[in-house]
């Protein structure tokens, strides 16, 4: 049954955002035919805009739906998103200002540009670009899934809604580039904050405080052995490695780096490392919605499982108009990262695949046209993903995405601090890490943690972490080997390089 009140509110906010998305083209006007303007908004965003942009970029709608869903389904283990999104900031503080400075000085738009500049290896740059695009695709698809879950709760056919959302998203991203998600992020965050404060205050009051909420979780923990109020000892190693591995991987995603490079200075990046954690607090409080759903005895819709628990709880606890507002917030919250991700993937395709391999010597304006079309193609791919592939498989691919993207750590972030690594050793490390990570993932039956048995004790380790260790070890061991091989003479003038 269609909830008309909720739907009217929802449509109103969606239209508002559409208008903002197109108006964004004129905001802080720049020549949108230049890739640094379309794809990085001219590297001019100050502290506040960067805060909104990165907040919308890193804390995606899918996160806001999936984390409470995981807490609802398995308990304490689902809370790993909180320490994970804490530890990213000291790492960001150490790494990103330097990354920003080198990219700005050399006009780099993508992490692959950086890798090619540092190592001189086109092969490595191509690998980094492909890794980024492959890891991003299922992530965009899951943003679409976030929209589907929300609109389905209002009784709307999610497939029609997704096609409409896709057209809007594609059109304003094409026109305005990175300016669109940045401007929309400000509206979206205002909405998300209202939803958060309403849920985190009104629902506990209605349920009689946090005591009964955690009592419901404790009761579920006592009744089943797959759900824990605090970690079981066997979960310590998986929890800690998931936290560390995810934290190391997050800023390697192309969309995270795109958001970073759009800021105006290294100081903006550093300031944001201490104000972005506000979103982690928000995420931590939202995670507790999983337990509130238990206490309120809300069950998720069959079609979406635990990932549908947040919309179901909101629909059960609030009047229709507020539910519509909340679903609009979640859906708009999905459009922002989907837009940035498609821009990031398009930048990679244009700069690091199209230019070097398909059409060297193109003009600057052709560059942006290619990026615009590529951003459309990426989003269309993500839409087909979500229509044609079972959602569970898309979620599996996104889990695998973390294991894949972390293989660029030695080339991108370690490469910031040392040029000691040999380029072919980095390629070999990438291959070894990728093979190990995918093998462990499949061996664990599509699970991101693999349980090693060491001295008779089972120890679960997040495969992103174990595989990137293999990657680093191979890179370090092979560097002296490749260095000792004399470079093939490629004409006398290049021999010195």
């Amino acid at each position: 049954m269609i909830d008309w009140v909720a739907l009217s509110i929802f449509v109103f906010f969606f239209l508002l955002v559409t208008v903002i998305g197109f108006v964004a083209a004129r905001w802080r006007r720049g020549n949108l035919k230049v890739l640094e303007e379309w794809g990085l908004a001219g590297r001019k965003f100050g502290t506040v805009i960067t805060w909104f942009l990165m907040g919308g970029d890193l804390y995606t709608a899918y996160t806001f739906v999936a984390v409470p869903g995981l807490v609802y389904a398995v308990g304490a283990q689902g809370f790993f998103a909180v320490p994970y999104t804490v530890l990213i900031y000291p790492l960001a503080f150490l790494v990103l200002p330097r990354f920003w400075s080198i990219c700005k000085a050399n006009g780099y738009v993508t992490p692959s540009d950086f890798v090619e500049g540092q190592t001189g290896s086109k092969t490595l740059a191509l690998l980094v670009a492909l890794t980024g695009i492959v890891a991003t695709m299922p992530y965009i698809a899951l943003q679409m899934f976030g929209i589907a879950v929300s609109v389905a709760q209002m009784g709307i056919n999610p497939e029609i809604a997704l096609i409409v959302a896709f057209v809007i998203l594609a059109a304003y991203t094409y026109t305005s580039g990175l300016r669109a998600p940045a401007l929309i992020a400000m509206v979206k965050d205002g909405m998300i904050f209202i939803v958060l404060f309403a849920t985190i205050i009104a629902i506990p009051i209605a349920l009689g405080g946090f005591g009964p909420i955690f009592k419901a979780a404790a009761d579920k923990a006592a009744a089943t052995n797959t759900f824990h109020l605090i970690l079981a000892p066997s979960q310590f190693a998986p929890y800690a490695t998931l936290v560390l591995g995810s934290a190391l991987a997050l800023f390697l995603y192309p969309h995270s780096l795109t958001g970073t490079l759009a800021s105006a200075s290294p100081e903006v990046v550093k300031r944001n490392a201490s104000i972005l954690p506000a979103y982690s607090l928000l995420l931590g409080l939202l995670a507790l919605l999983g337990y509130m759903a238990l206490a309120a005895k809300v069950t998720p819709p069959k079609a979406y499982g635990a990932n549908g628990i947040v919309p179901a709880l909101i629909a059960a606890q609030f009047p229709s108009w507020f539910a519509g507002f909340s679903f609009a917030a979640i859906s708009i919250g999905a459009m922002v990262p989907a837009s940035i991700m498609s821009i990031a993937a398009a930048n990679l395709f244009t700069r690091n695949i199209y230019r070097p391999y398909l059409r060297p010597n193109y003009s600057g304006s052709e560059e942006t046209t290619v990026a615009r079309v590529a951003s459309l193609a990426v989003k269309l791919g993500a839409l087909l993903f979500i229509f044609l592939i079972p959602t569970q498989f898309v979620i599996t691919l996104q889990l695998l995405g973390g294991i894949i993207i972390i293989q660029t750590l030695p080339s991108v972030f370690v490469g910031l601090f040392t040029r000691w690594f040999h380029k072919w050793a980095l390629v070999a490390g990438w291959i070894a890490g990728m093979a190990t990570g995918i093998a462990l993932f499949i061996e664990a039956h599509n699970n991101s943690t693999y349980t090693f048995v060491i001295g008779g004790h089972p120890i679960g380790v997040y495969s992103a972490l174990s595989s990137v260790v293999i990657n680093l070890v191979v890179t370090v061991l092979l560097t002296p080997v490749f260095n000792s091989v004399p470079a093939r003479p490629r004409g006398t003038e290049k021999a010195a390089a």
């Binding site: 804490v86 530890l87 009964p212 929890y239 201490s274 931590g284 409080l285």
Partner: protein, 66 residues
């Protein structure tokens, strides 16, 4: 262009970054239900509090130009 160069002698402040890593990457340290805070078990409010503490450490490092 870069008016805020790192200040000499403030680099040691970066060692403070070890605090959240050590504190959060060893779960047995905080995997407790008691003491509760307004009905929230320790495991949850400790990690929420760690967000604030880590943000403050990062802010101090920024102010000190570490």
């Amino acid at each position: 262009m870069d008016a805020r160069r790192p200040r000499k002698g403030a680099g040691w402040l970066l060692l403070l970054f070890l605090v959240p890593f050590v504190g959060l990457l060893y779960p047995p340290f905080y995997n407790l239900t008691k003491p509760e805070l307004i009905g929230i078990p320790f495991f949850y409010w400790f990690q929420l509090a760690a967000i604030v503490v880590t943000a403050l450490i990062t802010f101090v490092a920024y102010l000190a130009r570490a």
